[in-house]
Symmetry: C2
Amino acid sequence: MSDDTELLSVRVAELYYEENKTQDEIGALLGITRWKAGRLLAQAREKGIVRIQIVHPRARRLGLERALRERFGLVEAVVVPVADGDDAQSRVAQAAADHLAALRPVPRILGISWGRTLQDVAGHLSDGWASGVRVVQINGGVSLNRRPGTAASTAATIAHKAAGEAILLPSPAILERPETKRAIEADRTVAAVMSLAAQASAYLFSAGVADASSVHVGSGYLTADDVAELVRKGAVGDVVGRYIEADGNIVDPALDERTLGLGLNALRSARTAIFVVAGQAKHDIARAVVTSGLCTVLVTDEATAQALLEENR
Amino acid sequence: MSDDTELLSVRVAELYYEENKTQDEIGALLGITRWKAGRLLAQAREKGIVRIQIVHPRARRLGLERALRERFGLVEAVVVPVADGDDAQSRVAQAAADHLAALRPVPRILGISWGRTLQDVAGHLSDGWASGVRVVQINGGVSLNRRPGTAASTAATIAHKAAGEAILLPSPAILERPETKRAIEADRTVAAVMSLAAQASAYLFSAGVADASSVHVGSGYLTADDVAELVRKGAVGDVVGRYIEADGNIVDPALDERTLGLGLNALRSARTAIFVVAGQAKHDIARAVVTSGLCTVLVTDEATAQALLEENR
DNA sequence: CGTAGGCCTGCTCATATGAGCAGATCCGTA
DNA sequence: TACGGATCTGCTCATATGAGCAGGCCTACG
């Protein structure tokens, strides 16, 4: 486009958007026909001279969402923009809460994992987001936790706000020996919870990073050395307590045998599996989850979405 | 507006502006009527959820321009946005050049002052911006200048690009004694130039700040002490070589008697007097010029425009 | 309990806008 | 110079949109 034409588009755009003139008036003002004004305006939009943005804490990035859905075959994606100074985790948690509340049909049984992210989602749910939902934990995590009750409170909060019931999984996440794990699984109470978890109409989960900051280390289930060893074997993070590689496979089958909770295949075959993830540190595990089909719905921040969509990986 | 409604406006705005859906489609998608969608969209725009900006080096701020015209009774105002890292002076000079080129009727005689700003305007004019314009200097400034020829070259450049003729004022800006000034004025050549200057169909000028950096000091017409004394007496800057107070009056009539060039009243009564000014340092002198009716057209940057529009001054 | 006033909703209708088309104009090539 | 293709221009017509209006609903107050 000639410099001259470009300047004219700028004038048209100014009169149209800042002065609220009609294209007809603009034409009269600038001595051009209204069609030409319209075309210049279209050019201005195309060339990015006119920049339109939605500024709101709960805005979304529909373009990225569409790209993610197409690229990874998701049923739904929710991407929130994060401005400097915003807390990405909190924004994403809010979006996940919104999505959960808008989910139709309303899940009668909701299977959830636990962790900081899920706790945050629970906090952002509004009272009465649903009614009568049974919220069941899909992986263990009680008692060894430094902050006891976090896992339980997440489930309780979600259930409470939906005027429903929380069903906790009374077991550690990782047992020392496979036999112990099997023994606990065989326990009637635990088995009942697991059975309920398997029937859930929707799952809501996040993921952890494989490094020393992992909750498994903090909780005493694994040592920092254990995690370092997992990383050496290719682990990128954990999903409902199970460590996976970049391609989504279990890193260490022996460890997995000692891990109590819903299996990853249950997630893969679930109708609705909502994966909530935020932050730079979780880009790798997020990639592993979406590429290996562990979720049908992804809720994340803009930066993570963009990282997932980058080519050549 | 309730939180709920606000969120809905955000969704509508996203679908409308980012997904290019019609209000009808949006209504269907969100389960509302198209009228409601339209109203929510209007609310989103009103509340500033939708932000539309024109991003272009030659964009203008029409809102500020209107405010300036109304506030100071100007015929026209041109305000350019200046982003971080932009050179305000250069942007404003470009805008002034654009305005001059678009001026109708095309001035047959254009009276100009000189200085860095005007030189910059001359540089931004495009070849053939007019044809056959006689460009006449309205204040003296030759020969004592450290960079001889600047004043002359400004006029020459403007005239050359308009396929016209430059008429220089062969005299210093400020003389040592009033008699000398009168003698020079009486000179046939000088008188002819002054007479032509008085007939100009348009004037284009800038202004200087009253401090030690003034071109008058650099050129040797005044000493730093002289300027300090002028400031003590209330000077805020100079217009075509004449120092004025905040209210637009001449600071020192005796000095003014020694200053050769068009008088300020000629500017005040001119049909078209274009004042070009940019930069934080010139806010005070700019205020003095516009409030005392020295110009009919103001060309400036956004920050200066905003400073001029601030209340209580 | 009744009612006036304010707000919201869904409509009609006039207007603004974009898609698509035919003629005009420009430019390079034979 | 003549020709063919590409681009530009001004139009028609269908559609999208906003203004304005009447009726419904909610609330506060007598």
